[in-house]
Amino acid sequence: MPWFGMDIGGTLAKLVYFEPTDVTPDEEELEVETLRTIRRYLTSNVAYGSDGVRDVHLEMKNVKLAGRVGTLHFIRFPTASMKSFIELAKEKKLATLADTICATGGGAYKFEEDFNKEVELALHKLDELQMLIQGINFIDDTYPSECFYWAHPDDEEQCKKVPFDFSDPYPYLVVNIGSGVSIIAVKSQGDYARVSGTSLGGGTFLGLCCLLTGCNTFEEAIEMAAQGDSKKVDKLVKDIYGGDYDKFNLPGHVVASSFGHMMCEDHRKTVCKEDLARSTLVTITNNIGSIARMTALNHGINKVVFVGNFLRVNPIAMKLLAYAMEYWSKGQLKALFLEHEGHFGAVGCLIELIKEKR
């Protein structure tokens, strides 16, 4: 104890903490002061420092791990604030309780030396893709209705989340949308490989939005996008053809050229920040959907699971992906989503820690 898993990505660091709830009164008396401090600090706050957040709605109670029962807490903070986290870990004397932390993501490599020197902790570095798959398997087995799909994604009135039984999953594609995108084909338990990816991911959406609209956070960008109209920004097939492009079955409303109206000064004058944010969101999302679809086709897989913190508080992107996969594949492909979004890598690390303890 304490049992942690960490996933340090390009933009966000994800921390999962297992809070034991089966502590007997005797145990509590013997509990080391340091451990109690950490436990109380993490569980009695939902915000840490200026930008750490605990996703309370994702909390999992009564989780059984290595003979203990407890609550899984999901915490995230910007990787840019890693220095503050390291200071906090030092201050809370984490090194007196554990000598290693299981960590994944690029940051596990990048910050290894800092952890060693400042916190006097060794990072047990684990592969992010392996941890991702491990985390998905664990959570799906443990959390009811973890996996879902969107029914009627293009109909505002009827659109809703429907649980999907993922107990017989193989083969499936995982599309992990973080700062960048990795696509992993999972053929069976233990048989998986990264088969594709793109550098146009969540980091691109946030970066471009900040440049185009002056916003500062992901939440602001999403809110602007929700109010915008991308059709004023993008050039559609009908803008070029005056209608549908029949020969290739491209209906007039399909985007032919993203941001395609913006080279024209007159058009630039008629669009607002919200329209630009919307177009950025639509462009990035549709591009990912397109690559995911082609990858699924190439590998003969028809279940595509989208995860990653790009989809956090982002129903627009989820519904777009759901609609695009169904439309372009004529119903052959199913877009699936998981409630715990971008936390799987960290969970995978926690599971690894438990395995090591045995």
Binding site: K110, F111, L129, G207, N216, I240, G242, S257, M263
Partner: protein
């Protein structure tokens, strides 16, 4: 009249010189795209050709006059199509409204969209040729007949461009990636058979549009100039920015882009004058 016309073209945005040779065109073809209109035309050209081997017996001249066809290529923004059509009407069609033996063909999305305008201006009904058929006909023609039409780019070679001559190697099938405002990817199976197998809306129009929003550049060419000067690594998040080095397990070197514009959120408040150049380079990649 000609001076007036030249002047009005300048005002509308097409440099008058661009269309000058059009006056002698025998055959004209338009490809009216989403952003740009491409014109190809044949004109008869007389030129003198120097002879380097002289037959002493015939005592011929050391130069000869030859007539041949010249293939011209011009392009301009589709928004100026009306001015161009006016020019064609005045200078190519003559005063009468019949085609006068001139052959005019059109393709591209705009051939459909501007059908009526073309009819009004030129007084002819132009049938829209299929864009993809024209594309592969044109590609195949140039690939088979023009030396050094195709080339390969090898970054670390000197020179980096390697030109390909038409060869006896089978041309088909080949993948054709057409990067216009948007992108179409086609499998070309023969002179006439083609299948669109994919595409993306992130094309030249996106670069031009985003570039116009993010920088003060006026026009596509200026955007390219800016991009050449920029350093994308200051805007894009590379693998090494996340890993501190390469991601060895899956063979991703440290200088590969992990997240395009991934650093832009943090540097949005950066008011350095080089920012727009860096951004341009980021977008091109």
């Amino acid at each position: 009249m000609a001076e007036y016309y030249a002047k009005s073209l300048e005002l509308s945005g097409i440099p008058a010189l661009t269309l000058t040779n059009l006056k002698h065109a025998e055959r004209i073809a338009f490809d009216i795209g989403g952003s740009l209109t491409k014109l190809a035309f044949f004109s008869k050209i007389s030129h003198k050709r120097a002879l380097y081997t002289i037959n002493p017996n015939t005592k011929s001249n050391c130069e000869t006059e030859e007539e041949g066809w010249r293939l011209h290529f011009i392009n301009f923004e589709t928004k100026y199509i009306e001015s161009c059509l006016d020019f064609v009407k005045q200078n190519v069609m003559g005063r009468s409204t019949d085609v006068n033996g001139k052959i005019i063909k059109a393709t591209g999305g705009g051939a459909h969209k501007y059908k009526q305008l073309i009819n009004e201006k030129l007084g002819v009904e132009i049938s829209k040729e299929d864009e993809i058929q024209c594309l592969i006909k044109g590609c195949n023609f140039l690939l088979k007949n023009i030396p050094d039409e195709a080339f390969i780019y090898e970054k670390h070679s000197n020179p980096p461009y390697k030109f390909q001559s038409p060869s006896n190697q089978p041309l088909f099938p080949y993948l054709l990636v057409n990067i216009g405002s948007g992108v179409s990817m086609m499998k070309v199976i023969s002179d006439t058979e083609v299948e669109r197998i994919g595409g993306t809306s992130l094309g030249g129009g996106s670069f031009w549009g985003l570039g116009s929003l993010l920088t003060k550049a006026k026009g596509f060419d200026e955007l390219l100039e800016l991009a050449e000067k920029g350093d994308h690594r200051l805007v894009d998040m590379l693998v090494k920015d996340i890993y501190g080095g390469s991601y060895d397990l899956i063979g991703l070197p440290g200088d590969i882009i992990a997240s395009s514009f991934g650093k832009a959120a943090r540097s949005a408040s950066d008011t350095s004058t080089h920012l727009h150049e860096r951004i341009k380079k980021g977008k091109l990649s």
